[in-house]
């Protein structure tokens, strides 16, 4: 069966482009131009995945409210923020609202498609728990599950966004090797500047440190990038 993807975007051309793209990928697409319209439909039936712009018409933070409303209806519904805003503050707020990922609008469509399909794969994997064993990376206390897009530290789950997951995955695939920022960007399918990468790394560190205050496995190699070390 094909997944139902809902796109909430106030810019008509962009909305049409995204609709066309996802239709071509074989998804069932429904698009909305504002929050009330989307909520009206979603209240009767939820889609399998929602892509939301933050600013919706007159509502500057309409995307945030919609995200919160959706999260109340379903805890597991994958939500991706798609926004022109790219400051740390926006990203952090978006993720705090309960979104699964946050991408900026200048991301290329293939990357976006990849993200969407990754989210669907996670949903699928979560549905069948035993298929994941062989694809997992285990490094000391760390366990990274590529299929489930989940990351555990010392048996506890680390709540990472997709972007963050991919960064951790990229670092741990070849532990000890230095990944520069460009590589991290490519493997996380994002196009951002160096400072945003830095802030992502910072957030990842903090998430691990929340579970283990002595966590210091992500080394900064100045001028080059980052490295996972045990």
């Amino acid at each position: 069966m094909s997944y139902r993807v809902a796109i909430v975007e106030d810019d008509e051309m962009l909305r049409e482009n995204y609709s066309d793209l996802f239709s071509k990928q074989g998804y069932q697409v429904s698009s909305f131009k504002d929050r009330p319209g989307a909520q009206q439909v979603f209240s009767s039936q939820l889609p399998d995945l929602v892509i939301v712009d933050i600013g919706l018409g007159d509502e500057v933070d309409g995307g945030y409210s919609l995200c919160q409303w959706l999260r109340q209806k379903s805890r597991t519904l994958p939500i991706i923020f798609l926004s022109a805003r790219d400051s740390d503050l926006d990203i952090v707020s978006g993720l705090r609202m309960g979104a699964d990922d946050y991408v900026t609008k200048d991301m290329s469509l293939p990357h976006l498609v990849a993200r969407v399909s990754a989210l669907f794969r996670r949903v699928e994997v979560m549905a069948e728990p035993d298929a994941s064993q062989k694809k997992a990376i285990e490094l000391g206390k760390l366990r990274v599950d590529e299929l489930r897009f989940s990351c555990h530290w010392d048996g506890q789950i680390v709540e990472l966004t997709l972007t963050e997951f991919w960064m951790v995955y990229s670092l741990t695939k070849h532990p000890g090797h230095v990944k520069n920022r460009q590589q991290l960007m490519d493997e996380s399918h994002i196009v951002v500047d160096d400072a945003t990468i830095t802030s992502h790394i910072k957030r990842i560190r903090k998430k691990f440190q929340k579970l283990d205050s002595r966590f210091d496995c992500i080394d900064t190699v100045y001028g080059m990038g980052y490295r996972w070390s045990d």
Partner: protein, 717 residues
């Protein structure tokens, strides 16, 4: 305003203080004007007083002329006499009749000697007999005090009726009724006694009860004090002392006195101060008035004339500014006292007075200022039947007035000095207040816009209601508007980037939609190019918002202490990979360079410097990186060889949107934000950054100075 501008053009630049001092300086001339008017005023006051003195003199003279009895008396004094007159000093009745002269204040004794012998029966010997007398008069009595030096004092014999066969005092008068009377005072022993009226032959007629006398024996002779009612005394008077030294024969050795008492014709004039005239003279207050007779002798004095004041002590006439400085007047007229008492002429008076009196006696009225200029004198002749019989001299001290004027002048001066001092203090305070407010405004204005021309802050609004407050408020509003505009401009880049992102996504998503379809090779090339262009556009948009995002991400939570050497070494290693064509020459002389800050940001800063250095390097030249510690500051230098910096841009290279790249470089996009970001990062770490041309060769050296860890307190935390 125009005049002020002209001053400035001449190179004279009076500060605001000086400009405000000018009117104050004009105020300083006020005392001179005041002094001028005071002088005029005092001149007029003196003139007025002098006129008053002259008219007083005329008034007094006319008043005397109008009183017939007085003027007759004065005229009488002008009759020529052989013998010198006897002058009686004015005394009061509050005296003890005791034979002592200690209560004869201010009356000078006249000595009797060989010249005063009236009758000589033996060879006169000074040591045998001499005397001294004092003559005084009150309103009702005539007083005589005689101090006799006698080697042998012979008293009256108890049983002898004669009063002349012993030492005695004989007086003769022409009484007011015109009758000649003679009296003799003798004593049985030193005690109080009475006078005997005697006949012209010397026989005692009766005891005159009205004349009181006290005989007091002394070591060298005897004293005699007499009190005679004026009812017994007229215009003529004389007295003689009889000296008898032999107890047995009791012959008169000498007779000594004013003149012979034997007949009325031999008596001398008794000159008493004219009490009638005196009362008249006293009617004018605040002026000393003297009445002279034709022989320039004082007939009468007003109570406050200098001569009358002499005998009184100071506490009786307290010195106030109204009563003037009497001691000065006294010293001015000291000779007059002697002249009056001796009965001689007025010569001894101060020259102006004397000259005026002489002129008045010639019939001319006149006025003058005393020698020392403290008093004004006017003289007026007194006429009787067309003849000049006397002169009135009115003298008024100008001291009181002059003193008053002086006092006014002094008080005015003190007040002006006080006023000026207070005014000056007030002026200083006001100036200080206003200029400090101006300075404050100036400082705030200077701080409002920093060296880079960025508007930093709003001005605190002055709540003063005056013009300066208005100015400050205008500035405040201006700066606020400028600040808003500046903020708008600063956020322009990131806002623009943000706004452009949606259209870019539309293009990108459209292209992506095309790309998924099957394209022929020719079209695929164009789509690829469109993609590349978009990629570059995205990068530009990212760069545009980078600076804004950097300022947001200066988070003090991320600050840590780290070794700069490790960071620099790692970075340079990375650069070797990132820029395979460039050569890096790293030299670190220190063993450790500990700093406090955000290492990621420092690395970002280093990235910017290196990418600039690489870009502007000539091919096959090395980029030198040096890390040292100089004066407790970590110094990182990045040197390249290549074109130097343009002179005119060195200052503002660190501003946003400024770039030296002259030509469009197709391979990368630049907005001139790199060095701006570098500067923001350096300043966040409490350091500074500068670019300069190399001195040794062509090229640029970028120097970043960041305080070492222990000195990093300047860090903006």
């Amino acid at each position: 305003m125009r005049a002020l501008r002209r001053l400035f053009r001449w190179g004279i630049n009076p500060g605001i203080r000086l400009q405000l001092l000018l009117p104050f300086a004009l105020l300083m001339t006020l005392p001179f004007f005041a002094d001028f008017w005071l002088n005029n005023w005092s001149f007029m006051m003196l003139e007025g007083q002098r006129h008053e003195v002259i008219s007083d003199a005329k008034y007094m003279a006319r008043s005397l002329e109008a009183s017939e009895s007085l003027i007759k008396k004065i005229a009488l004094r002008s009759v020529e006499q052989d013998k010198p007159d006897l002058l009686a000093d004015l005394v009061d009745d509050r005296r003890a009749l005791d034979g002592r002269d200690d209560d004869w204040f201010g009356v000078q004794g006249q000595s009797l000697g060989v010249d005063d012998l009236v009758e000589i029966n033996r060879t006169y010997r000074q040591d045998s007999f001499s005397a001294e007398y004092k003559l005084g008069t009150s309103e009702n009595f005539l007083y005589l005090f005689v101090k006799v030096l006698d080697d042998v004092v012979i008293y009256r014999e108890i049983n002898n009726p004669s009063v002349h066969r012993n030492d005695n005092l004989q007086i003769a008068v022409v009484n007011p009724d015109g009758e000649y009377r003679r009296y003799t005072i003798a004593a049985f022993q030193p005690t109080s006694t009475k006078a005997h009226q005697v006949s012209s032959s010397g026989r005692s007629l009766r005891q005159e009860e009205l004349i009181e006398a006290v005989w007091l024996g002394t070591e060298s002779g005897y004293n005699l004090e007499l009190k005679i009612p004026l009812s017994l005394v007229g215009e003529k008077f004389s007295f003689v002392l009889a000296d008898i030294d032999d107890q047995k024969d009791r012959d008169i050795h000498y007779l000594m006195g004013s003149s012979s008492v034997d007949s009325a014709a031999q008596l001398v004039n008794l000159i008493r101060p004219s009490l009638g005239a005196q009362k008249m003279l006293a009617s004018l207050e605040n002026a000393s008035i003297r009445l002279f007779d034709a022989k320039k002798r004082i007939v009468s004095l007003s109570p406050n004339s200098p001569e009358n004041l002499l005998g009184k002590s100071d506490h009786e006439y307290p010195i106030s500014w109204e009563s003037g400085l009497l001691s000065f007047i006294s010293s001015d007229t000291q000779p007059a006292q002697d002249a009056y008492v001796r009965g001689s002429a007025v010569e001894a008076f101060a020259a102006p007075t004397s000259m005026l009196v002489e002129a008045a006696l010639r019939g001319e009225s006149g006025s003058n200022v005393t020698k020392r200029g403290y008093a004004f004198i006017a003289a007026e002749p007194v006429l009787f039947k067309g003849e000049v019989v006397g002169a009135v001299v009115v003298q008024k001290s100008e001291r009181a007035l002059l003193g008053y004027i002086e006092r006014v002048r002094r008080e005015m001066l003190v007040q002006f000095v006080l006023l000026l001092v207070l005014g000056f203090i007030f002026w200083r305070v006001m100036i200080w207040l206003q200029t400090s407010r101006l300075k404050m405004l100036k400082n705030q204005l200077e701080q409002a816009i920093d060296t880079r021309g960025r508007v930093n802050d709003k001005l605190p609004a002055f709540d003063m209601p005056d013009e300066l407050g208005d100015l400050a408020r205008s500035f405040s509003t201006m700066v606020e508007k400028l600040h808003q505009y500046n903020q708008y401009l600063e956020s322009m880049a990131s806002r623009l980037a943000h706004e452009l992102r949606t259209p870019v996504s539309i293009v990108r998503s459209s292209l992506d939609n095309i790309a998924t379809d099957q394209l022929d090779d020719e079209n695929a090339v164009y789509v690829k190019r469109a993609h590349d262009g978009l990629e570059r556009l995205s990068l530009i948009l990212n760069n545009m918002s980078e600076a804004t995002r950097l300022e947001h991400s200066l988070d003090k939570d991320d600050i840590e202490s780290f070794d700069l050497i490790e960071l620099v070494r790692g970075c340079v290693e990375g650069y070797s990979q990132a820029f395979p064509t460039a050569r890096f020459d790293l030299s670190i002389e220190e063993s450790a360079v500990p700093v406090t800050g955000i290492p990621d940001l420092i690395a970002q800063l280093f990235d910017k410097l290196i990418s600039n250095a690489v870009e502007f390097s000539l091919p096959d030249t090395a980029i030198k990186v040096r890390l040292t510690i100089e004066d407790e500051v970590a110094v990182l230098r990045v040197m390249n060889q290549g074109p130097g910096l343009p002179e005119n841009m060195r200052e503002n290279l660190f501003d946003s949107m400024v770039s030296v790249r002259g030509r469009y470089d197709g391979s990368s996009s630049h907005l001139g934000l790199g060095l701006y970001i570098a500067k923001v990062i350096t300043e966040f770490h409490g350091g500074d950054i500068k670019l300069s041309n190399r001195e040794d060769s062509h090229g640029v050296v970028a120097t970043v100075r960041i305080p070492l860890m222990r000195l990093s307190s300047k860090l903006r935390l």
